[in-house]
Symmetry: C2
Subunit: 204 residues, 2 copies
């Protein structure tokens, strides 16, 4: 593997708090030899896009509304390839990816989900955990495959669920762990020093 | 609620390491106002039964092999009622309970499962977690209802899954947490100071 910095393409639809956590981790040296090559939003009002512009990072906006999914993803793929990204990092990107997108970056798309998968996949994971009466919750960083919230797990971090929790307090506690987990998982991935056997991700 | 000690009926089929953890917790005062009223095995060779005899605890053996499930459970219910148990505690009891058994002790049967439910229900939970590539595992103490590994969750404890783990090392790490979780959960239950709303168990 060359010594050139690994290039991240970050996709977001909203405030992108995980994008900012990754940016801070790079700035603080916790995510060595990595740079953000592109912050790509599909919603003009995404405040994460505005934050990226303020930070002087390369940005692009590819509005998805009103465009067929396949056409939109083709445009996204072109932008990411033009930016020569090594890793596609989903940070609150609220669109299901097409198979064409996933196969354009095989085992190179990373997502974070606010539960300990395989528990509570899909939307409103924190609410699902509360409704189920779970006493431990958490977050999962995983590679993206064709099934929703299903790919190989890179890292998980657990948090307690408290008797006094509501969706907001539990989500905030999980989000704090997400901000630690995502840079940590990206450090493992971008180091290149890992193996995947079956579904088992291991540091090499 | 009266001040009389809460009486546990412990069901086991094997070594009953969780039974011994509960016994030690009572002896050390970590499970106050609780006593073991009966240790009940369905397998003559269960070493947990022998341990209970050595400890001078009340024991019974109701061999299940060769007996229709309904008849066996009826005999178990009779023994537990005779011993005036308040709580039925499953500690490695390797038989599915009949609906008649479950309705004989409504919301008074407790089980421990070696995963963070709802992830990895059923047999070989630790192997399931490893095969899935989970990075956090754990155990769950829950009330027993008609569905397998499904009732209201009282307590969960998490452990890391290490890159070097196999089924034996992960099971041992989870078991150590089980030995803490079960007495802790029984202390909550036998205190009587809790509420259950929907599936949400909360200390009152």
């Amino acid at each position: 593997m060359s010594d050139a910095p690994r290039r991240l393409g970050i996709l977001l639809s909203g405030r992108g708090s995980n994008f900012l956590a990754i940016h801070h981790a790079i700035a603080e040296g916790r995510l060595p030899n990595v740079e953000i090559a592109l912050v790509l939003a599909n919603v003009a009002a995404a405040s994460g896009l505005e934050a990226a512009i303020q930070l002087g990072l390369p940005t692009a906006l590819q509005v998805s509304k009103g465009t067929p999914r396949e056409d939109h993803d083709a445009a996204m793929i072109a932008l990411l390839r033009e930016a020569k990204v090594d890793w596609v990092v989903l940070a609150g990107y609220m669109r299901v990816l097409t198979p064409a997108f996933i196969s354009a970056f095989p085992n190179r798309i990373v997502n974070i989900h606010p539960s300990l998968l395989p528990a509570f996949p899909g939307l409103h994971a924190q609410r699902q955990a509360l409704d189920y009466g779970a006493k431990v919750a958490g977050c999962t960083v995983h590679l993206v495959d064709e099934a929703v919230d299903h790919g190989t797990i890179v890292l998980q971090r657990a948090v307690p669920v408290l008797d006094t929790d509501d969706e907001a307090t539990l989500s905030a506690r999980i989000l704090a762990e997400e901000h630690l987990a995502y840079p940590q998982a990206l450090a493992r991935l971008t180091s290149g020093r890992y193996t995947i056997r079956g579904r088992q991700f291991r540091q090499a």
